[in-house]
Symmetry: C2
Subunit: 167 residues, 2 copies
C-alpha cells in the first residue's frame, strides 16, 4: 500500500495527516456555514424569514417575477426544496404563485405587495451581518471569490465523477 502521496501533487503528505487536516477543514467550513446561518437567523427573526427564504426573496427582489425553475437555477435548489418553501412564503402572503398561461407546466412566482414592502425592512440586515463579521468589504468580496472558485471546482469534479460512473 502506498500510504505516502498515493494520488499525487501533495508532496509527501501521509494519509493520516490528511485525515487530521480534513477534520479541521470540514469542521471550519461546516462551522462557518452554521455560524452564518445562526447570525442570519437572529437578524431575520423579526422579518419572519428563514435564511433560505431570505435568499429566495433576495432573488425575487432583484429579478421581479420568476418561474420556479429560474429561482432554482439562481440558487441551485431543486423543486423538492423550493416547492414547500414557496408554499410557506405564499401562506405568509409574501409571494404569489400562478401557472404560466403559455406553458402550463411552469409556475411563476412574484412578490406580493407585502413581499415588496418587506424589502425595505430587509435593507438593514446585510449591513448588520457584515458588521458582525468584523471584516472590511474588500475581504468579504475576496472570500466570496475564493468560495466561488472552490464551489466550482468541487461541482466540476463531482460531475466528472458522475460521468465516470456511467461506463
Amino acid at each position: 500500500m502506498d500510504s505516502i502521496d498515493s494520488v499525487g501533487s501533495f508532496g509527501s503528505v501521509a494519509d493520516e495527516d490528511f485525515l487530521r487536516l480534513d477534520l479541521q477543514v470540514c469542521f471550519s467550513l461546516h462551522s462557518a456555514a452554521r455560524a452564518f446561518n445562526a447570525a442570519y437567523r437572529t437578524a431575520l427573526k423579526e422579518l419572519g424569514l428563514t435564511y433560505p427564504q431570505y435568499l429566495v426573496m433576495l432573488v425575487l427582489w432583484e429579478h421581479g417575477e420568476l418561474p420556479v425553475k429560474k429561482i432554482g437555477a439562481y440558487l441551485r435548489l431543486d423543486s423538492g426544496t423550493l416547492s414547500p418553501l414557496l408554499k410557506r412564503l405564499e401562506s405568509a402572503d409574501l409571494v404569489e404563485r400562478r401557472r404560466s398561461r403559455d406553458d402550463e407546466r411552469s409556475v411563476t412566482v412574484r412578490p406580493t405587495e407585502n413581499g415588496i414592502a418587506l424589502r425595505a425592512r430587509a435593507l438593514a440586515v446585510p449591513r448588520r451581518i457584515a458588521t458582525a463579521t468584523g471584516l472590511p468589504l474588500d475581504e468579504i468580496r475576496e472570500l466570496r471569490t475564493r468560495l466561488n472558485v472552490l464551489a466550482e471546482a468541487l461541482d466540476a469534479a463531482d460531475l466528472a465523477a458522475d460521468a465516470a460512473d456511467e461506463s
Copy 2:
C-alpha cells in the same frame, strides 16, 4: 432616512448595494457548503456514511471514546442533532453507547471494531476531496484559517446580540 452608511465603517456604500452584495456572498457560502457536502456525499457513499456522520467518526477516531457532550463540543452540535445521528451509527454497528458508571447522566460513545476498521477505508477520502478542490495544501490551510476567523467573529457577535436581548 440615512440610507448611506447608516451604521458606519463601510465608507459610502448604500443599503441597496449591500443587499445586492449580500445575495452574492450568501449564495457563495451556501453554495460552497453544499458543493462540499455533495462532494463528500459522493466520496462517502461507499462507506455508508453521511457527511455529519463522517465528522463524528473523525472525532472518535482522533480521540477514542468520548461522552456525547464532548463530541458536541468538538463539532458544536447539540444532543438534538447528535442523539438520532449516534443511534443510526449504532444500528450500523459503527459505534457503541453506554451509560457512564460514575455519572449516570453521561453516555460514552466509542467506535466498535467495525467502526475502527472503517478508518482504513476512510483514509482515501480527504485526499480525493483535496484533489477535487484543485487547491494546493497551503491555500486549503489558509481558507480554513479565514473561515475560522469568520465563524468566531459571527459567533461572538451573535452571543453579544443574545446578551443585549436580556435588558
